[in-house]
């Protein structure tokens, strides 16, 4: 007899024995895991059980006399069945905030128990500026190496964090404390978005959910159960920074745990989430086994630290109501009218390095404002430049806002702005843009990246400027003042105006320029300009001669030099020639495969001003996967180089079985007479196109298979897709086999909760020896 939620007549039962009639009892039971699910979760078939199992506790270990000790702890999420884990970089990258000789991965075996160590993982790829890392599980906890592709772990899929809206419900999963507690979930809503140059308008998501420090690196899920964010906050380890650092182990090997021993740093509460879309490329690269060789081989942190002398410095904070397409302020304000829904804080920075922790604290009328605060995070910018933190599209209530910027736990700048009242008419400049003029004063180029030329013109808007007001235009090159024009305003109340600058001798040199416009004694607007490359039509000509090769010989393209590689190479080089790029110019380079970016970095130019054969290399553990690989270079957000090379078929292979939606099927196989579990019984679910009579013991016909454990429990290692009819076979040695066709799994099944089905299968003994 087969029974399933009151509708079992549709099942067809067969027995292979003529001696006895098979007796089958299949009962659906629901095993609630953790807290009760929101109804929306159940209706959409979301498996919280799957999320719970995919959320891991990570402990970074380092060698100490007599063993290993934990240097950092956090949470992570398995994002592919073969054991890729998404987490924060600060917890797992050696030498940044932790000493890492090994990373222990612990899983939640039972919902209410602390996690148990099961595997070791290694860092596959990381991005310090995003504070994200992808790990790969490589060894069993007893040290045995795990063959690539042999794991089949529960995992979650990434959702679309770009379509999130304010007040969307989210659930955060992670481990509180140092692995002593069971997995914790915290519900909340999206309460805001934080904009930064790295990540754009959605560089950060803000949530109302309560997230403790060790949940950093865990997962945030939308109503569809998709991973849409990573709770991210990094503790500052600088002397004097307020820090929760827990000493739990004898790291010196002296037999006592005291102040000499290392401690595990833990950040306070987190309300900032890195959107999952910023991690998609890293996960893609890890799945494909592609490496950006230029940076994998170079310790980014150490290299950057060597290049920076002196401590971090931050300039005054200025407020702007908007950001233009070049990531620059439109104008600076000291007050915004009621109803303002966007505000950006701009500041200059110097001597910053990867790994520096910054934080922004906001108050309104003296009360803390978590919506507009930024949890402690790893620095996302370059060594020096202009940075902004802001938000748009959400209401700012009236009041006096005070923002305090902290670097390594120390307050370095504070600024106030009043929001409320009616728009105030005050003299102002705004919307600075640049153009390159020829000697006759004709426009050659316009934009924020111009070729090296003779005359730079800056256009700007002015409003409410009374005649007779003193104003100043100051030009800078790489932070050094070039020219200062002080005058009395006489161009009218509102309109557009232009200021020009010519080089005093010779010509302009490539690099970063800035124009500051002061109305009276107030900085009212600024614009940054990059001069690079030669003049070619309306664009600067900076790069040319992009070509791809499979190898490098004496610094030049070697092996096969082509745009199509029929035989997959182990590596792919992109060579490019360049001219007139000043040292320190920020540039962005990225690789895409089949149109999807999987590697992107912004750095400051460190090569000579002009040259040939600058190369960028992709590598792979074996051979590069088939695909169309594109190399791009951007400066100031403007695309200057793009080119593609085909490898193999020129298209990525289709990967099957990577969906994380469906039913998690588990259960127990019992002796019908004794009701005891049967160890070693085989439970098979056939691919949907096969029925029991079609089965000829070919593994290709099997969708999922499990062998019962010592308690008679089984569990399939993959989710079974909805909307299909399945056939099941249960075989136990010295028991009559049990078979059934037509088992339907659909979302409307009232017995299906939490995306999980629990089967109870009873087998009868075979009386024939």
């Amino acid at each position: 007899m087969i029974k399933k939620s009151g509708d079992w007549s549709s099942f067809l039962l067969r027995s292979n024995s003529k001696l006895l009639i098979a007796f089958v009892l299949m009962t659906l039971a629901v095993a609630p895991i953790g807290e009760a699910l929101p109804i929306a979760q159940a209706q959409t078939g979301v498996s919280f059980a799957n999320i719970i199992r995919a959320t891991v506790y990570l402990a970074s270990q380092f060698d100490v006399p007599g063993g290993q000790a934990t240097s950092c702890a956090g949470s992570g999420t398995i994002v592919s069945p073969d054991g890729l884990i998404l987490t924060n970089a600060h917890n797992v990258v050696n030498g940044l905030q932790c000493k890492v000789d090994a990373i222990v991965v612990s899983l939640s075996m039972r919902p209410n128990d602390p996690p148990e160590p099961k595997y070791y993982a290694e860092v596959e790829i990381y991005d310090l500026r995003l504070d994200l890392a992808v790990l790969r599980i490589t060894r069993q906890i007893d040290g045995r190496i795990i063959e690539p592709g042999s794991l089949s772990l529960p995992f979650v899929e990434l959702g679309d964090s770009l379509t999130l809206r304010l007040d969307d419900t989210v659930v955060v999963f992670g481990y509180r404390d140092l692995g002593d507690d069971a997995l914790t979930l915290s519900r909340g809503t999206i309460i805001g978005f934080i904009a930064e140059p790295l990540g754009g308008e959605r560089a950060w998501l803000k949530t109302s959910a309560t997230v403790v420090g060790t949940m950093s690196g865990g997962g945030v899920y939308n109503a569809q159960g998709r991973l849409i964010g990573i709770p991210t906050a990094a503790p500052s380890l600088a002397p004097g920074a307020v820090l929760d650092c827990r000493r739990v182990q004898d790291t010196t090997g002296d037999g006592i745990v005291d102040s000499q021993d290392g401690c595990i740093p833990i950040v306070g509460f987190i309300n900032s989430l890195r959107p999952a879309h910023l991690a998609r490329g890293m996960i893609r690269a890890a799945q494909l086994g592609i490496r950006y060789m230029g940076h994998v081989a170079t310790p980014v942190v150490e290299a950057a630290q060597e290049a920076v002398t002196g401590g971090p410095e931050v300039g005054a904070i200025h407020f702007s109501p908007a950001v233009n397409e070049a990531g620059q302020p439109t104008t600076f304000v000291t007050q915004l009218p009621a109803g303002a829904n966007s505000l950006y804080l701009f500041f200059d920075y110097r001597n910053m390095r990867p790994g520096v922790v910054y934080e922004l604290r906001a108050t309104r009328n003296g009360d803390s404002q978590s919506t507009f605060s930024q949890s402690p995070a790893l620095w996302g910018g370059q060594t020096n430049g202009l940075w902004y933190i802001g938000s748009a599209g959400q209401a700012w209530q009236n009041g006096v806002y005070e923002f305090t910027l902290l670097i390594e736990g120390r307050a370095v700048q504070t600024a106030q702005i009043t929001i409320g009242g009616s728009p105030a008419a005050s003299p102002s400049f705004s919307d600075v843009s640049f153009g390159l003029l020829d000697l006759q004063g004709n426009d050659i180029q316009v934009g924020y990246v111009l070729g090296v030329g003779d005359i730079i013109a800056a256009r700007f808007i002015f409003r409410d400027m009374p005649d007779g007001l003193p104003w100043t235009a100051i030009w800078y090159y790489e932070g050094m003042e070039l020219r200062r024009d002080e005058a009395t305003w006489n161009q009218g109340v509102s309109g557009a105006a232009t200021v020009n600058i010519r080089p005093q001798s010779g010509g302009f040199v490539p690099g970063r320029y800035r124009l500051e416009l002061w109305a009276g004694d107030r900085l009212s607007a600024l614009g940054d300009l990059i001069l690079a490359g030669g003049q070619e039509g309306v664009f600067a000509r900076i790069f040319q001669n992009l070509r791809f090769s499979s190898d490098i010989q004496a610094g030049e393209p070697g092996g096969i030099v082509a745009s199509s590689f029929a035989n997959r190479p182990a590596g792919l080089y992109a060579f490019i020639d360049w001219q007139l790029i000043g040292a320190g110019t920020p540039w962005t380079y990225r690789w895409l495969v089949d149109g999807e970016a999987f590697f992107e970095r912004t750095e400051q130019w460190a090569a000579p001003e002009s040259g040939a054969n600058f190369w960028s290399r992709l590598g792979s553990s074996l051979l590069l996967p088939d695909g169309s690989y594109t190399y791009e270079i951007l400066i100031g957000g403007q695309l200057f180089v793009t080119g593609s090379a085909r490898v193999g078929m020129g298209q990525l292979p289709v990967t099957a079985g990577s969906r994380a939606t469906g039913v998690r099927v588990s259960g127990e196989v019992l002796d019908a007479a004794t009701q005891e579990g049967i160890p070693g019984a085989l439970v098979i679910v056939l691919e949907a196109q096969y029925s029991v009579v079609d089965f000829v013991w070919d593994a290709a016909q099997i969708l999922a298979m499990s062998v019962t454990d010592s308690q008679g429990r089984f569990e399939f290692d993959r989710l079974l897709p909805y909307g299909e009819f399945y056939s099941m076979i249960v075989i136990g040695e010295r028991y009559l086999p049990l078979t059934a066709d037509g088992i339907e799994l659909n979302l409307a099944d009232p017995e299906l909760e939490d995306g999980q089905l629990e089967f109870r299968l009873e087998l009868n003994r075979d009386l024939v020896p």
Partner: protein, 198 residues
Amino acid sequence: MQQFPLVPERPLTRTQRWANALVVAAALITLGVGLIMKDQLMSGTQPFQDLAAGILAQYPSGWLLDRSGGYVFQVRDAQSSGFHTMLGVSILPIGGDAKARNVLDALTLERARSLAAYDVLSSAPLTLPDGDLATRLEYVYVASESNPFLQAVPTVVHGVDVVVIKRGQAIVVTFRAEADRFDKEEWRLEQFLASLEF
């Protein structure tokens, strides 16, 4: 209570005695034939051929055939409890100067990294039924449940690799069974080797 007089039982006739004996004999014979048929079914084989790899073999009927991994094929006795006795063939590319010992060493190193408590028991030359020279490597290791969410006591597995160097490649026949059942199951390997054609 009603009582019946005792009546002496009539002795069976000769025909009745023969009939009884024949019924018992028929039942025993039927049972015996059934058991023999069952045994034959269980020890029966079915063919496998891979023309690309150039391999023909007979493997036990009812075993689960798997061609999805990095091997030519594998079959497992999935219907048995405990560790599923396994037979498989894989082909490894080797250099022109490689000897069977090189292949065995590579296998040993690779397995020692991935299998728990892996240990080589013996290694000896072997002549296959078709006269080919091979090397036989015996080893043990501990197999454990791969699903971390299930609880199972690890099993000691006894394995055999038979390595043949042919046509510039190493053909590795692998047989693994639970250590307690290895002696009883080893004939499967002999049967398989006898049927194997390269």
